[in-house]
Symmetry: C2
Subunit: 184 residues, 2 copies
């Protein structure tokens, strides 16, 4: 998972993975019949860890819904910073790299994206009911916008090797665009 997170799918050699673990090739092919299916297992493992953390943040009743979304953004920002604007999110990386290359991986990635969209939608809905989050669009549409923007900001931060696009995104999204407008 760690190697694929940093190097992507195509640049990850099975032999490199096995060597780093001291596992013989035969064992690999006992469990996985292809690199694609190995990547599916990695995606599922990554998602399991990630979704647990995401759910914990987005249902934390100590914070308001908008604040929870911001906490998620800040958590991602800190992780990216501590990796010196490298790596980012495995799902975002493989989505970009593999969506046109492998239908098996594309479908697996779609499942994860839709799952995340569901979690964000619930949190945004809650914020809309409380009057904290804007109602210019439905919760699922705002959730999709948030996810697209975040993943784009991560990529831009990686390319510029500068955390600023993440900071800018977090500030604009959570201090302005998602905030319910005060009615006069």
């Amino acid at each position: 998972m760690s190697i694929m997170l940093e190097k992507g799918y195509s640049n990850t050699g099975i032999q490199e993975v096995l060597s780093s673990l001291g596992v013989p090739k035969g064992s690999f092919y006992h469990y996985f019949d292809s690199k694609e299916n190995f990547a599916v297992a990695i995606i599922r493992h990554f998602d399991e860890e990630f979704s647990g953390e995401l759910l914990r943040i987005l249902t934390n009743s100590q914070e308001t819904p908008l604040r929870r979304l911001r906490t998620y953004g800040e958590t991602g920002k800190r992780a990216l910073l501590s990796d010196e604007c490298r790596k980012g999110c495995l799902i975002g990386n493989l989505s970009q790299e593999m969506s046109d290359q492998s239908e098996i991986l594309r479908k697996e990635l779609s499942i994860v994206i839709n799952k995340r969209l569901g979690l964000f939608t619930q949190c945004i809905e809650e914020g809309q009911k409380l009057g904290e989050i804007t109602q210019v669009a439905s919760a699922d549409r705002l959730a999709e916008h948030l996810m697209c923007g975040l993943s784009g900001a991560v990529t831009q931060a990686k390319t510029l090797k500068n955390i600023e696009p993440m900071e800018n995104f977090i500030d604009l999204m959570f201090n302005h665009f998602l905030k319910a407008r005060k009615t006069a």
Copy 2:
């Protein structure tokens, strides 16, 4: 350019490129000393075509600045649709794939991103002066947000093989978030 747009950097074989053009290998190494430098030339070529079109759209005085930005978004949406949500933008694709893999490509991609940011910033500034575009943040920060969101929406459309994330992004960005709020 076309092969790298669809397959990415790592999955593009020089031999495949040469075969598709009927060019012998010796000629390639006469012009390029590595695949990386070949990719730099491809990025510059892509950017030349793309920046010309972007500049034309963003300085079209027949439309208001916000409308021009929207036209750009719609143009991207149509292109993605006609490619059945494949390919996308070479700069976005290589940014995601190669920013951690090649410092040479990362620097080249940063130059293109900063150039685009400059074009968007000018157009947004113009819209802010006209009172058409929100002033919740400076033009360069709104430009960065717009670029991050667009590239994330393209990626999500490619993964879901559905244009909806692009449509949603265009609607929210240009009908709501970037619009100047009417003052009471």
